[in-house]
């Protein structure tokens, strides 16, 4: 049966399109204005003259360093998550012991705890460990806060593997290690990519941990750079907005090429 278009929801979606499209238009067009043009003509009129100067200025203002720091944090967080989560999820799905059940439940508890709630003791622990103002001090908590959701998503994916497949491998005399590498990992590829997407987005867009746990220029990440830019040069709106565009560019490129995988990943994890 062919479904007729849903007009009510269609109308809603057009309104939403305007709500999303308009700010993005203002954002993009403002980055190509000169600062003088922005303050004299305002953000709405189409500028008479376009410039790339704002983007160049961002790089001389240290955007490159922020970018590398953010990249380092993101890659490390994804690496930690990939190292810890698959074996953990495998253990939770396959093991029958009571300990592993308890561990899983504690993990689920971690889902409900917002980062703000534990930021003070986190600051305490990180300073005691001598990691304050060190990127490692940002990487570890960020990864830790990704773990519960990632484990949950991956256990979901691994549960879908039927027990016949495990039995078949067991009959063939495969070690648990081989089962893990040759059966579980390949079959939970979808779950794994969701986990990577989620962890990468969290790390790339993270703000609270860098805000609290770093202070110097050399450890600044992009989000913190935007925040500082705003408080220090609040009047240079085109410069600020071009930095915003630069900050979302890498994710946007990935989004264009891998939209389906990315959206599916976000759908799977849903969490904030």
């Amino acid at each position: 049966m062919r479904r007729r278009p849903n007009h009510l929801a269609g109308l809603g979606s057009l309104v939403w399109l305007a709500l999303v499209g308009f700010p993005l238009y203002v954002l993009l067009i403002s980055t190509f204005r000169t600062r003088a043009n922005y303050s004299s003509q305002g953000p709405l009129t189409f500028p008479s003259q376009l410039t790339l100067q704002n983007y160049l200025d961002d790089f001389s203002n240290g955007f490159g360093q922020d970018f590398l720091n953010t990249l380092l944090v993101t890659v490390s967080v994804v690496a930690i998550v990939l190292l810890v989560v698959p074996p953990l999820a495998y253990a939770i799905v396959r093991a029958r012991g009571r300990t592993i059940g308890t561990v899983f439940r504690i993990f689920l508890l971690g889902l409900a705890i917002p980062a703000q709630a534990v930021i003070v003791p986190m600051f305490y622990v990180i300073s005691k460990a001598g990691l304050y103002d060190n990127l490692l001090g940002v990487i570890l908590p960020t990864a830790a806060f990704c773990l519960p959701v990632c484990t949950l998503v991956l256990t979901g994916a691994m549960r879908d593997i039927t027990s016949e497949l495990y039995e078949a491998m067991a009959v063939d005399g495969a070690t648990p290690w081989r089962v893990f590498w040759q059966l579980v990992l390949p079959l939970s590829k979808g779950g794994l990519s969701s986990v990577v997407v989620f962890a990468a987005l969290q790390a790339w867009n993270g703000f609270l941990f860098p805000l609290i746990l770093t202070q110097s220029e050399s450890t600044k990440v992009i989000t913190l750079g935007l925040y500082n830019f705003q408080t220090e040069h609040g009047v240079d709106v085109p410069g600020l907005l071009s930095a915003v565009v630069l900050s979302m560019l890498p994710i946007f490129i990935v989004y264009l090429f891998a939209r389906r995988a990315l959206v599916q990943g976000l759908m799977g994890v849903g969490g904030k």
């Binding site: 049966m1 479904r3 278009p5 849903n6 009510l8 929801a9 269609g10 809603g12 979606s13 939403w16 399109l17 999303v20 499209g21 700010p23 993005l24 203002v26 954002l27 922005y38 305002g42 953000p43 709405l44 009129t45 508890l109 971690g110 409900a112 705890i113 917002p114 703000q116 709630a117 534990v118 930021i119 003070v120 003791p121 986190m122 600051f123 305490y124 570890l140 830790a144 949950l152 867009n205 993270g206 703000f207 609270l208 609290i212 989000t223 925040y227 705003q230 709106v237 907005l241 915003v244 900050s247 979302m248 946007f252 989004y255 959206v263 976000l266 759908m267 849903g270 969490g271 904030k272």
Partner: protein, 271 residues
Amino acid sequence: MFAIVPLVLVGVLSFTSWNGVDAPRFNGLANWTKLLHDPVMTQSVWLTLVLTVAGVVVQTPVSILLGVWAAGHQRNRAVLSAIFFIPLLLSATAISVVWRAILDPNFGVPSQLEWLFGDGNLMGSQSSAVAVLTFVGLWQWTPMHALLYQGGARAIPQVLYQAASIDGAGRVRQFFHITLPQLRNTMITSVILMLVGGLTTFDTVLILTQGGPGTDTTNSAFYMYQQAFKRFDFGAGSAIALVLVVVATLISLAVVRLSGYDKMRSTTEGL
């Protein structure tokens, strides 16, 4: 472990006075009595609840409509939904920075659309500042919840709709009698996420309003940050954080209980 150990520590620290440099000293209930008599604290709890409820009320209908729409088979759906979900990719920081620039009373959009915005100082009064925070929250979170609903709507068996249209039920009746009830589980998941997210709204407040005007938009998460990391009163900060955790947990549990979610055999997907 990174979540549980600090959670215990936050409880301990809430009974100490600590300036972040020296060792924490126990001071009994001093932080708690101080907060109990602190008008800003009381106000921040109210404001947090108002922002949270407003967020759920505004975001839920929009996300359901968008999600149901995106689950259907319209023309241009792929292109449009690609644009819809762009806010998902932006960090809360970037979103707040952009909206602050757009809504700037002197150089932003309000200066050019005076018929719509009046004097345009949206961050200047409590009611409009709260409205801005709610709106930016809508902008930021709706795509994610719409995705949840899209998944939920796709999982509804088509047979139900076929049966309904044979019985002569129209589009709108189908929506209220099939789609909405079938989305019940998704709705609970989504509302809990909105509640926890709303209670802990921080980045947007810090960047858009800095808690102002005065303390008019100082919600609990922002107040916690101020007390701990600006006034270096980490004991008081911990106490506020503990209140936040307890409230968030209680509300989530209440939603789960009241909706009977825990007793249901999950029919579609939850989280």
